[in-house]
Symmetry: C2
Subunit: 294 residues, 2 copies
Protein backbone atom coordinates (compact mmCIF):
# COMPACT_ATOMS: atom_id res chain seq x y z
CA UNK A 1 0.00 0.00 0.00
CA UNK A 2 1.40 3.42 -0.86
CA UNK A 3 2.32 5.67 2.03
CA UNK A 4 0.31 8.87 1.90
CA UNK A 5 1.93 10.54 4.91
CA UNK A 6 3.54 13.76 3.71
CA UNK A 7 7.32 13.82 4.00
CA UNK A 8 8.63 16.34 6.48
CA UNK A 9 12.06 17.91 6.71
CA UNK A 10 12.89 18.93 10.24
CA UNK A 11 15.78 21.28 11.00
CA UNK A 12 17.18 21.09 14.53
CA UNK A 13 19.93 23.68 14.33
CA UNK A 14 19.07 25.25 17.67
CA UNK A 15 18.86 23.50 21.02
CA UNK A 16 15.25 22.99 22.08
CA UNK A 17 13.75 24.45 18.90
CA UNK A 18 13.03 23.05 15.44
CA UNK A 19 11.35 24.10 12.23
CA UNK A 20 9.74 21.68 9.84
CA UNK A 21 8.70 21.95 6.23
CA UNK A 22 6.28 19.71 4.41
CA UNK A 23 7.78 18.42 1.17
CA UNK A 24 6.04 18.03 -2.14
CA UNK A 25 8.99 16.20 -3.69
CA UNK A 26 12.63 15.29 -3.27
CA UNK A 27 14.76 16.64 -6.09
CA UNK A 28 18.21 15.34 -5.14
CA UNK A 29 19.80 13.60 -2.22
CA UNK A 30 23.41 12.42 -1.95
CA UNK A 31 26.49 12.30 0.22
CA UNK A 32 29.42 14.22 -1.21
CA UNK A 33 33.00 14.07 0.01
CA UNK A 34 32.19 16.87 2.46
CA UNK A 35 28.57 16.65 3.49
CA UNK A 36 25.07 15.37 2.93
CA UNK A 37 23.33 17.40 0.24
CA UNK A 38 19.55 17.46 -0.22
CA UNK A 39 17.33 19.52 -2.47
CA UNK A 40 13.57 19.35 -2.17
CA UNK A 41 10.39 21.20 -3.05
CA UNK A 42 8.09 22.31 -0.25
CA UNK A 43 4.51 23.45 0.30
CA UNK A 44 5.42 26.77 1.93
CA UNK A 45 9.05 27.58 1.21
CA UNK A 46 9.70 26.91 -2.45
CA UNK A 47 12.76 24.87 -3.42
CA UNK A 48 15.18 24.31 -0.56
CA UNK A 49 18.88 23.38 -0.41
CA UNK A 50 19.92 21.59 2.76
CA UNK A 51 23.50 20.68 3.75
CA UNK A 52 23.97 18.32 6.70
CA UNK A 53 20.32 18.94 7.62
CA UNK A 54 20.67 22.74 7.77
CA UNK A 55 18.78 25.05 5.39
CA UNK A 56 21.18 26.99 3.13
CA UNK A 57 18.89 28.62 0.62
CA UNK A 58 15.25 28.63 -0.41
CA UNK A 59 13.90 30.15 -3.60
CA UNK A 60 11.33 32.09 -1.57
CA UNK A 61 13.70 34.13 0.59
CA UNK A 62 17.24 33.93 -0.81
CA UNK A 63 17.10 37.61 -1.79
CA UNK A 64 16.88 38.75 1.83
CA UNK A 65 20.25 37.13 2.43
CA UNK A 66 22.21 37.54 -0.81
CA UNK A 67 21.10 41.09 -1.61
CA UNK A 68 21.99 42.34 1.85
CA UNK A 69 25.48 40.82 1.87
CA UNK A 70 26.21 42.27 -1.58
CA UNK A 71 24.37 45.51 -2.34
CA UNK A 72 25.12 47.43 0.86
CA UNK A 73 28.93 47.23 0.54
CA UNK A 74 29.01 47.36 -3.28
CA UNK A 75 26.71 50.37 -3.64
CA UNK A 76 28.54 52.22 -0.89
CA UNK A 77 31.88 51.37 -2.48
CA UNK A 78 30.75 52.54 -5.90
CA UNK A 79 33.69 51.26 -7.94
CA UNK A 80 34.01 47.62 -6.87
CA UNK A 81 35.70 45.68 -9.67
CA UNK A 82 36.88 42.47 -8.09
CA UNK A 83 34.76 40.42 -5.70
CA UNK A 84 35.39 37.14 -3.90
CA UNK A 85 32.63 34.89 -2.59
CA UNK A 86 33.63 32.52 0.21
CA UNK A 87 31.50 29.43 -0.32
CA UNK A 88 28.26 30.33 -2.08
CA UNK A 89 28.10 27.24 -4.32
CA UNK A 90 24.44 27.92 -5.07
CA UNK A 91 25.57 31.15 -6.83
CA UNK A 92 22.87 33.32 -5.27
CA UNK A 93 25.51 35.76 -3.95
CA UNK A 94 27.42 35.77 -7.25
CA UNK A 95 24.19 36.50 -9.10
CA UNK A 96 23.67 39.70 -7.07
CA UNK A 97 27.30 40.76 -7.49
CA UNK A 98 27.08 40.34 -11.26
CA UNK A 99 24.21 42.84 -11.40
CA UNK A 100 26.80 45.54 -10.72
CA UNK A 101 28.25 46.92 -13.93
CA UNK A 102 31.43 48.08 -12.22
CA UNK A 103 32.30 44.46 -11.41
CA UNK A 104 34.89 42.87 -13.70
CA UNK A 105 35.50 39.57 -11.91
CA UNK A 106 33.81 37.41 -9.31
CA UNK A 107 35.93 34.63 -7.83
CA UNK A 108 33.68 32.11 -6.12
CA UNK A 109 35.61 29.66 -3.95
CA UNK A 110 33.49 26.68 -3.01
CA UNK A 111 34.94 23.53 -1.47
CA UNK A 112 32.26 21.15 -2.66
CA UNK A 113 31.96 20.68 -6.43
CA UNK A 114 28.76 18.67 -5.99
CA UNK A 115 26.98 21.65 -4.44
CA UNK A 116 27.82 23.72 -7.52
CA UNK A 117 26.77 20.95 -9.91
CA UNK A 118 23.51 20.14 -8.18
CA UNK A 119 22.58 23.80 -7.80
CA UNK A 120 23.38 24.45 -11.46
CA UNK A 121 20.92 21.72 -12.34
CA UNK A 122 18.19 22.45 -9.80
CA UNK A 123 18.39 26.16 -8.92
CA UNK A 124 18.51 27.63 -12.38
CA UNK A 125 15.79 30.08 -11.34
CA UNK A 126 18.45 31.63 -9.08
CA UNK A 127 21.69 31.11 -11.00
CA UNK A 128 21.02 30.66 -14.73
CA UNK A 129 22.35 34.11 -15.61
CA UNK A 130 25.35 33.88 -13.29
CA UNK A 131 26.56 30.61 -14.81
CA UNK A 132 26.56 32.23 -18.25
CA UNK A 133 28.42 35.33 -17.14
CA UNK A 134 32.06 35.36 -18.24
CA UNK A 135 33.08 37.53 -15.31
CA UNK A 136 32.45 34.59 -12.96
CA UNK A 137 35.35 32.27 -12.05
CA UNK A 138 34.46 29.24 -9.97
CA UNK A 139 37.38 27.78 -7.98
CA UNK A 140 36.73 24.42 -6.36
CA UNK A 141 38.97 24.90 -3.35
CA UNK A 142 39.05 25.53 0.37
CA UNK A 143 38.36 29.27 0.70
CA UNK A 144 40.43 29.45 3.88
CA UNK A 145 43.42 28.08 1.98
CA UNK A 146 42.66 30.15 -1.15
CA UNK A 147 42.81 33.39 0.82
CA UNK A 148 46.51 32.82 1.63
CA UNK A 149 47.55 32.29 -2.00
CA UNK A 150 49.73 34.91 -3.63
CA UNK A 151 47.07 35.50 -6.32
CA UNK A 152 44.56 36.57 -3.64
CA UNK A 153 46.76 39.17 -1.97
CA UNK A 154 45.25 42.66 -2.15
CA UNK A 155 43.03 41.59 -5.00
CA UNK A 156 39.44 42.23 -3.93
CA UNK A 157 37.22 45.25 -3.40
CA UNK A 158 34.65 43.08 -1.66
CA UNK A 159 34.82 39.69 -0.01
CA UNK A 160 31.47 38.14 0.91
CA UNK A 161 31.65 35.35 3.45
CA UNK A 162 28.66 33.21 2.55
CA UNK A 163 29.78 30.82 5.21
CA UNK A 164 27.56 28.14 6.72
CA UNK A 165 27.01 27.84 10.46
CA UNK A 166 30.11 27.35 12.60
CA UNK A 167 29.77 23.56 12.62
CA UNK A 168 31.24 20.92 10.28
CA UNK A 169 33.37 21.89 7.25
CA UNK A 170 32.68 25.60 7.69
CA UNK A 171 34.31 25.88 11.11
CA UNK A 172 37.62 27.32 9.85
CA UNK A 173 35.64 30.26 8.41
CA UNK A 174 35.01 31.65 11.89
CA UNK A 175 38.48 31.77 13.50
CA UNK A 176 40.97 34.56 14.02
CA UNK A 177 43.09 33.38 11.08
CA UNK A 178 40.14 33.62 8.72
CA UNK A 179 39.57 37.30 9.39
CA UNK A 180 43.25 38.18 9.02
CA UNK A 181 43.36 36.35 5.68
CA UNK A 182 40.30 38.26 4.49
CA UNK A 183 42.06 41.46 5.49
CA UNK A 184 45.16 40.62 3.45
CA UNK A 185 43.10 39.76 0.37
CA UNK A 186 41.32 43.14 0.30
CA UNK A 187 42.34 46.17 -1.72
CA UNK A 188 42.67 49.54 -0.05
CA UNK A 189 39.14 50.86 0.47
CA UNK A 190 37.70 47.37 0.33
CA UNK A 191 34.87 45.88 2.35
CA UNK A 192 34.03 42.43 3.64
CA UNK A 193 30.61 41.15 4.72
CA UNK A 194 29.92 38.11 6.87
CA UNK A 195 26.99 35.95 7.85
CA UNK A 196 26.95 36.23 11.65
CA UNK A 197 24.13 33.97 12.79
CA UNK A 198 20.61 34.40 14.12
CA UNK A 199 21.15 36.33 17.35
CA UNK A 200 17.96 35.10 19.02
CA UNK A 201 19.27 31.52 19.00
CA UNK A 202 23.03 32.07 18.43
CA UNK A 203 23.70 35.21 20.49
CA UNK A 204 27.41 34.42 21.05
CA UNK A 205 28.22 34.80 17.34
CA UNK A 206 27.95 38.59 17.47
CA UNK A 207 30.52 39.02 20.25
CA UNK A 208 32.83 36.48 18.65
CA UNK A 209 32.72 38.06 15.21
CA UNK A 210 33.02 41.65 16.37
CA UNK A 211 35.93 41.06 18.71
CA UNK A 212 37.85 39.16 16.00
CA UNK A 213 37.01 41.78 13.37
CA UNK A 214 38.09 44.59 15.65
CA UNK A 215 41.48 43.00 16.00
CA UNK A 216 41.97 42.81 12.21
CA UNK A 217 40.19 45.84 10.78
CA UNK A 218 40.21 49.52 11.60
CA UNK A 219 36.44 49.64 11.03
CA UNK A 220 33.71 47.11 11.56
CA UNK A 221 30.11 46.74 12.73
CA UNK A 222 26.81 44.95 12.55
CA UNK A 223 23.76 45.19 10.36
CA UNK A 224 20.61 43.13 10.05
CA UNK A 225 18.45 41.29 7.61
CA UNK A 226 15.39 39.08 8.02
CA UNK A 227 15.40 35.70 6.27
CA UNK A 228 12.32 33.71 7.32
CA UNK A 229 13.87 30.25 6.90
CA UNK A 230 17.01 31.20 8.81
CA UNK A 231 14.52 30.86 11.59
CA UNK A 232 14.61 33.12 14.65
CA UNK A 233 13.76 36.59 13.37
CA UNK A 234 16.74 38.77 12.60
CA UNK A 235 19.90 37.45 11.00
CA UNK A 236 23.03 39.37 11.95
CA UNK A 237 25.48 40.34 9.25
CA UNK A 238 28.79 41.99 9.98
CA UNK A 239 30.91 44.27 7.85
CA UNK A 240 34.55 45.29 7.95
CA UNK A 241 36.29 48.06 6.06
CA UNK A 242 39.94 48.82 5.45
CA UNK A 243 39.45 52.60 5.23
CA UNK A 244 35.80 53.58 5.13
CA UNK A 245 32.95 52.68 7.48
CA UNK A 246 29.73 51.21 6.10
CA UNK A 247 26.40 52.81 6.92
CA UNK A 248 27.31 56.50 7.26
CA UNK A 249 24.78 59.07 6.08
CA UNK A 250 26.97 59.95 3.10
CA UNK A 251 27.54 56.30 2.23
CA UNK A 252 23.83 55.52 2.36
CA UNK A 253 22.98 58.56 0.22
CA UNK A 254 25.62 57.63 -2.37
CA UNK A 255 24.33 54.06 -2.45
CA UNK A 256 20.79 55.33 -3.06
CA UNK A 257 21.94 57.36 -6.07
CA UNK A 258 23.86 54.41 -7.51
CA UNK A 259 20.97 52.01 -6.92
CA UNK A 260 18.57 54.33 -8.75
CA UNK A 261 20.97 54.52 -11.69
CA UNK A 262 21.64 50.77 -11.77
CA UNK A 263 17.95 49.88 -12.35
CA UNK A 264 18.33 46.52 -10.62
CA UNK A 265 15.22 44.56 -9.67
CA UNK A 266 15.45 43.34 -6.08
CA UNK A 267 13.18 41.33 -3.81
CA UNK A 268 14.39 42.79 -0.54
CA UNK A 269 16.95 45.57 -0.91
CA UNK A 270 16.06 49.22 -1.44
CA UNK A 271 17.58 52.46 -0.14
CA UNK A 272 15.23 52.68 2.87
CA UNK A 273 16.11 49.12 3.87
CA UNK A 274 19.79 49.95 3.41
CA UNK A 275 19.52 52.72 5.99
CA UNK A 276 17.22 50.73 8.29
CA UNK A 277 19.57 47.73 8.40
CA UNK A 278 21.91 49.56 10.77
CA UNK A 279 19.19 50.16 13.40
CA UNK A 280 19.58 47.54 16.12
CA UNK A 281 16.89 46.61 18.64
CA UNK A 282 17.95 47.08 22.26
CA UNK A 283 18.35 43.35 22.92
CA UNK A 284 20.77 43.03 20.01
CA UNK A 285 22.73 46.13 21.10
CA UNK A 286 23.24 44.40 24.44
CA UNK A 287 24.98 41.48 22.69
CA UNK A 288 27.75 43.77 21.41
CA UNK A 289 30.94 43.64 23.50
CA UNK A 290 31.31 46.75 25.68
CA UNK A 291 34.36 48.17 23.89
CA UNK A 292 32.06 48.84 20.97
CA UNK A 293 33.07 47.63 17.54
CA UNK A 294 31.79 50.80 16.02
Amino acid sequence: MPNFRPKIFRERLHKGYAQSMELTGIVAQEKSRYQRIAIFDTVANGRVLVLDDIVQITTRDEGAYAEMLVHLPLFEHGRGESVMVVGGGDLSIADEVLKHKSVKEVVLVEIDERVVELCREHFSQVNRKAFRDRRLKIEIADAFEYLSRAEARGRFDLIVADRPDPVGPGKALFGDNFYSRVRRALKTGGFASFQTGVPFYQPWEIAEALSELKRQFPLCGLYLTVVPTYVGGYMALSWAGTHKPLGTKAGIAAAARRFAKAKIRTDYYNPEIHAAAFALPEWIKRLIPKARAR
Copy 2:
Protein backbone atom coordinates in the same frame (compact mmCIF):
# COMPACT_ATOMS: atom_id res chain seq x y z
CA MET B 1 8.86 2.85 33.53
CA PRO B 2 8.99 6.65 33.34
CA ASN B 3 8.90 8.23 29.93
CA PHE B 4 12.05 10.27 29.31
CA ARG B 5 11.09 11.57 25.88
CA PRO B 6 11.04 15.35 26.03
CA LYS B 7 7.63 16.89 25.50
CA ILE B 8 7.34 18.92 22.33
CA PHE B 9 4.85 21.65 21.48
CA ARG B 10 4.30 21.93 17.76
CA GLU B 11 2.59 24.96 16.21
CA ARG B 12 1.01 24.40 12.80
CA LEU B 13 -0.40 27.84 12.10
CA HIS B 14 0.84 27.94 8.50
CA LYS B 15 0.10 25.41 5.79
CA GLY B 16 3.12 23.19 5.16
CA TYR B 17 5.26 24.71 7.89
CA ALA B 18 5.55 24.15 11.64
CA GLN B 19 7.71 25.23 14.53
CA SER B 20 8.31 23.12 17.60
CA MET B 21 9.59 23.90 21.04
CA GLU B 22 10.97 21.46 23.54
CA LEU B 23 9.28 21.85 26.91
CA THR B 24 10.89 21.71 30.31
CA GLY B 25 7.56 21.78 32.12
CA ILE B 26 3.84 22.35 31.74
CA VAL B 27 2.64 25.19 33.94
CA ALA B 28 -1.08 25.22 33.18
CA GLN B 29 -3.44 23.56 30.77
CA GLU B 30 -7.21 23.96 30.59
CA LYS B 31 -10.19 24.51 28.39
CA SER B 32 -12.00 27.79 29.04
CA ARG B 33 -15.38 28.78 27.68
CA TYR B 34 -13.65 30.21 24.60
CA GLN B 35 -10.50 28.25 23.91
CA ARG B 36 -7.81 25.84 25.02
CA ILE B 37 -5.23 27.63 27.15
CA ALA B 38 -1.75 26.26 27.81
CA ILE B 39 1.27 27.76 29.54
CA PHE B 40 4.60 25.98 29.50
CA ASP B 41 8.30 26.51 30.04
CA THR B 42 10.69 25.75 27.20
CA VAL B 43 14.37 25.11 26.57
CA ALA B 44 14.81 27.93 24.04
CA ASN B 45 11.88 30.31 24.29
CA GLY B 46 11.25 31.03 27.95
CA ARG B 47 7.68 30.78 29.26
CA VAL B 48 5.08 30.50 26.51
CA LEU B 49 1.32 31.18 26.38
CA VAL B 50 -0.56 29.19 23.79
CA LEU B 51 -4.24 29.61 22.85
CA ASP B 52 -5.82 26.94 20.65
CA ASP B 53 -2.28 25.72 19.82
CA ILE B 54 -1.06 29.11 18.61
CA VAL B 55 1.75 30.99 20.38
CA GLN B 56 0.50 34.27 21.88
CA ILE B 57 3.41 35.45 23.98
CA THR B 58 6.78 34.24 25.18
CA THR B 59 8.83 35.88 27.91
CA ARG B 60 11.85 35.96 25.58
CA ASP B 61 10.40 38.10 22.81
CA GLU B 62 7.18 39.78 23.98
CA GLY B 63 8.89 43.19 23.92
CA ALA B 64 9.33 43.09 20.15
CA TYR B 65 5.55 42.91 19.82
CA ALA B 66 4.15 44.96 22.70
CA GLU B 67 6.66 47.81 22.56
CA MET B 68 6.17 48.31 18.84
CA LEU B 69 2.36 48.42 19.03
CA VAL B 70 2.50 50.93 21.89
CA HIS B 71 5.54 53.20 21.84
CA LEU B 72 5.46 54.29 18.21
CA PRO B 73 1.95 55.76 18.33
CA LEU B 74 2.14 56.96 21.96
CA PHE B 75 5.49 58.74 21.64
CA GLU B 76 4.43 60.34 18.36
CA HIS B 77 1.13 61.41 19.92
CA GLY B 78 2.86 62.89 22.97
CA ARG B 79 -0.23 63.57 25.07
CA GLY B 80 -2.08 60.24 25.03
CA GLU B 81 -4.26 60.03 28.13
CA SER B 82 -6.75 57.29 27.43
CA VAL B 83 -5.81 53.98 25.84
CA MET B 84 -7.83 50.89 24.97
CA VAL B 85 -6.33 47.44 24.50
CA VAL B 86 -8.39 45.03 22.41
CA GLY B 87 -7.67 41.62 23.89
CA GLY B 88 -4.26 41.51 25.51
CA GLY B 89 -5.24 39.40 28.52
CA ASP B 90 -1.58 38.67 29.29
CA LEU B 91 -1.19 42.44 30.02
CA SER B 92 2.07 42.79 28.10
CA ILE B 93 0.60 45.63 26.01
CA ALA B 94 -0.95 47.32 29.04
CA ASP B 95 2.41 47.15 30.82
CA GLU B 96 4.06 49.15 28.03
CA VAL B 97 1.22 51.69 27.91
CA LEU B 98 1.48 52.27 31.66
CA LYS B 99 5.14 53.29 31.29
CA HIS B 100 3.85 56.52 29.72
CA LYS B 101 3.29 59.19 32.36
CA SER B 102 0.76 61.04 30.20
CA VAL B 103 -1.57 58.04 30.35
CA LYS B 104 -4.45 58.35 32.81
CA GLU B 105 -6.45 55.26 31.98
CA VAL B 106 -5.97 51.95 30.18
CA VAL B 107 -9.12 50.00 29.39
CA LEU B 108 -8.22 46.41 28.57
CA VAL B 109 -11.11 44.50 27.05
CA GLU B 110 -10.47 40.78 27.08
CA ILE B 111 -13.16 38.22 26.39
CA ASP B 112 -11.64 35.35 28.35
CA GLU B 113 -11.34 35.87 32.11
CA ARG B 114 -9.29 32.69 32.46
CA VAL B 115 -6.52 34.11 30.24
CA VAL B 116 -6.25 37.09 32.58
CA GLU B 117 -6.30 34.93 35.71
CA LEU B 118 -3.78 32.40 34.47
CA CYS B 119 -1.45 35.10 33.16
CA ARG B 120 -1.68 36.98 36.45
CA GLU B 121 -0.51 33.84 38.20
CA HIS B 122 2.12 32.66 35.72
CA PHE B 123 3.41 35.72 33.83
CA SER B 124 4.12 37.99 36.78
CA GLN B 125 7.53 38.72 35.24
CA VAL B 126 5.62 40.53 32.49
CA ASN B 127 2.58 41.94 34.27
CA ARG B 128 3.21 42.32 38.03
CA LYS B 129 3.49 46.10 37.83
CA ALA B 130 0.54 46.49 35.48
CA PHE B 131 -1.85 44.58 37.76
CA ARG B 132 -0.98 46.93 40.62
CA ASP B 133 -1.47 50.09 38.58
CA ARG B 134 -4.69 51.92 39.42
CA ARG B 135 -4.89 53.41 35.94
CA LEU B 136 -5.67 49.93 34.54
CA LYS B 137 -9.29 48.87 34.11
CA ILE B 138 -9.87 45.30 33.00
CA GLU B 139 -13.23 44.69 31.32
CA ILE B 140 -14.14 41.06 30.74
CA ALA B 141 -16.16 41.58 27.58
CA ASP B 142 -16.21 41.15 23.84
CA ALA B 143 -14.05 44.00 22.54
CA PHE B 144 -16.05 44.15 19.31
CA GLU B 145 -19.24 44.72 21.33
CA TYR B 146 -17.51 47.07 23.82
CA LEU B 147 -16.42 49.39 21.02
CA SER B 148 -20.04 50.20 20.17
CA ARG B 149 -21.01 51.16 23.73
CA ALA B 150 -21.80 54.77 24.46
CA GLU B 151 -18.98 54.94 27.03
CA ALA B 152 -16.40 54.08 24.31
CA ARG B 153 -17.46 56.81 21.88
CA GLY B 154 -14.63 59.27 21.16
CA ARG B 155 -12.88 58.22 24.35
CA PHE B 156 -9.42 56.99 23.37
CA ASP B 157 -6.19 58.57 22.16
CA LEU B 158 -4.85 55.14 21.24
CA ILE B 159 -6.50 51.80 20.56
CA VAL B 160 -4.15 48.83 20.32
CA ALA B 161 -5.61 45.77 18.65
CA ASP B 162 -3.70 42.93 20.28
CA ARG B 163 -5.87 40.60 18.30
CA PRO B 164 -5.08 36.95 17.72
CA ASP B 165 -4.90 35.43 14.25
CA PRO B 166 -8.07 35.70 12.15
CA VAL B 167 -9.31 32.27 13.19
CA GLY B 168 -11.57 31.22 16.08
CA PRO B 169 -12.96 33.75 18.56
CA GLY B 170 -10.82 36.59 17.19
CA LYS B 171 -12.41 36.57 13.72
CA ALA B 172 -14.74 39.50 14.34
CA LEU B 173 -11.65 41.65 15.04
CA PHE B 174 -10.70 41.64 11.36
CA GLY B 175 -13.87 42.74 9.57
CA ASP B 176 -15.03 46.04 8.15
CA ASN B 177 -17.26 46.67 11.16
CA PHE B 178 -14.36 46.32 13.54
CA TYR B 179 -12.36 49.11 11.91
CA SER B 180 -15.33 51.49 11.81
CA ARG B 181 -15.99 50.85 15.49
CA VAL B 182 -12.34 51.58 16.32
CA ARG B 183 -12.67 54.82 14.37
CA ARG B 184 -15.72 55.91 16.37
CA ALA B 185 -14.02 55.16 19.69
CA LEU B 186 -11.01 57.39 18.93
CA LYS B 187 -10.58 61.01 19.98
CA THR B 188 -9.57 63.62 17.43
CA GLY B 189 -5.85 63.16 16.77
CA GLY B 190 -5.95 59.58 17.96
CA PHE B 191 -4.14 56.55 16.60
CA ALA B 192 -4.88 52.86 16.37
CA SER B 193 -2.35 50.05 15.90
CA PHE B 194 -3.10 46.52 14.70
CA GLN B 195 -1.40 43.16 14.52
CA THR B 196 -1.47 42.37 10.80
CA GLY B 197 0.11 38.93 10.51
CA VAL B 198 3.40 37.49 9.32
CA PRO B 199 3.51 38.50 5.65
CA PHE B 200 5.81 35.66 4.58
CA TYR B 201 3.15 33.08 5.50
CA GLN B 202 0.00 35.29 5.67
CA PRO B 203 0.55 37.73 2.80
CA TRP B 204 -3.16 38.40 2.25
CA GLU B 205 -3.54 40.09 5.66
CA ILE B 206 -1.75 43.24 4.50
CA ALA B 207 -4.06 43.91 1.58
CA GLU B 208 -7.13 43.08 3.66
CA ALA B 209 -6.16 45.35 6.53
CA LEU B 210 -5.03 48.28 4.41
CA SER B 211 -8.05 48.31 2.16
CA GLU B 212 -10.42 48.21 5.16
CA LEU B 213 -8.42 50.86 7.03
CA LYS B 214 -8.38 53.11 4.00
CA ARG B 215 -12.16 53.03 3.90
CA GLN B 216 -12.44 54.10 7.55
CA PHE B 217 -9.49 56.41 8.20
CA PRO B 218 -8.04 59.40 6.41
CA LEU B 219 -4.53 58.11 7.14
CA CYS B 220 -3.10 54.63 7.52
CA GLY B 221 -0.08 52.51 6.70
CA LEU B 222 2.20 49.64 7.57
CA TYR B 223 5.19 49.20 9.78
CA LEU B 224 7.23 46.20 10.83
CA THR B 225 8.59 44.37 13.81
CA VAL B 226 10.44 41.07 14.20
CA VAL B 227 9.14 38.62 16.80
CA PRO B 228 11.08 35.34 16.54
CA THR B 229 8.28 33.09 17.81
CA TYR B 230 5.68 34.67 15.51
CA VAL B 231 7.65 32.60 13.09
CA GLY B 232 8.31 33.75 9.53
CA GLY B 233 10.59 36.78 9.85
CA TYR B 234 8.81 40.10 9.81
CA MET B 235 5.49 40.70 11.51
CA ALA B 236 3.37 43.40 9.89
CA LEU B 237 1.71 46.00 12.08
CA SER B 238 -0.66 48.58 10.74
CA TRP B 239 -1.52 52.02 12.00
CA ALA B 240 -4.42 54.37 11.42
CA GLY B 241 -4.74 58.03 12.36
CA THR B 242 -7.73 60.35 12.52
CA HIS B 243 -5.70 63.49 11.72
CA LYS B 244 -1.97 62.87 11.77
CA PRO B 245 0.12 60.27 9.94
CA LEU B 246 2.52 58.06 11.87
CA GLY B 247 6.16 57.86 10.86
CA THR B 248 6.82 61.34 9.46
CA LYS B 249 10.27 62.85 10.03
CA ALA B 250 8.82 65.33 12.51
CA GLY B 251 6.84 62.63 14.32
CA ILE B 252 9.88 60.39 14.64
CA ALA B 253 12.04 63.26 15.91
CA ALA B 254 9.41 64.26 18.50
CA ALA B 255 9.12 60.63 19.62
CA ALA B 256 12.89 60.45 20.08
CA ARG B 257 12.85 63.51 22.34
CA ARG B 258 9.97 62.14 24.40
CA PHE B 259 11.58 58.70 24.69
CA ALA B 260 14.84 60.22 25.96
CA LYS B 261 12.89 62.19 28.57
CA ALA B 262 10.76 59.22 29.64
CA LYS B 263 13.78 57.09 30.67
CA ILE B 264 11.95 53.85 29.89
CA ARG B 265 13.92 50.61 29.70
CA THR B 266 13.00 48.66 26.58
CA ASP B 267 14.10 45.35 25.09
CA TYR B 268 13.40 46.24 21.47
CA TYR B 269 12.24 49.81 20.90
CA ASN B 270 14.58 52.76 20.48
CA PRO B 271 14.46 55.84 18.23
CA GLU B 272 16.52 54.24 15.43
CA ILE B 273 14.18 51.23 15.40
CA HIS B 274 11.20 53.61 15.39
CA ALA B 275 12.45 55.19 12.17
CA ALA B 276 13.58 51.88 10.64
CA ALA B 277 10.19 50.21 11.22
CA PHE B 278 8.66 52.12 8.29
CA ALA B 279 11.23 50.79 5.78
CA LEU B 280 9.63 47.94 3.85
CA PRO B 281 11.54 45.32 1.85
CA GLU B 282 10.55 45.18 -1.80
CA TRP B 283 8.63 41.92 -1.45
CA ILE B 284 6.45 43.44 1.28
CA LYS B 285 5.88 46.65 -0.72
CA ARG B 286 4.50 44.44 -3.50
CA LEU B 287 1.82 43.12 -1.12
CA ILE B 288 0.33 46.59 -0.68
CA PRO B 289 -2.74 47.21 -2.85
CA LYS B 290 -1.95 49.47 -5.81
CA ALA B 291 -4.04 52.44 -4.70
CA ARG B 292 -1.52 52.91 -1.93
CA ALA B 293 -2.76 53.28 1.61
CA ARG B 294 -0.18 55.90 2.26
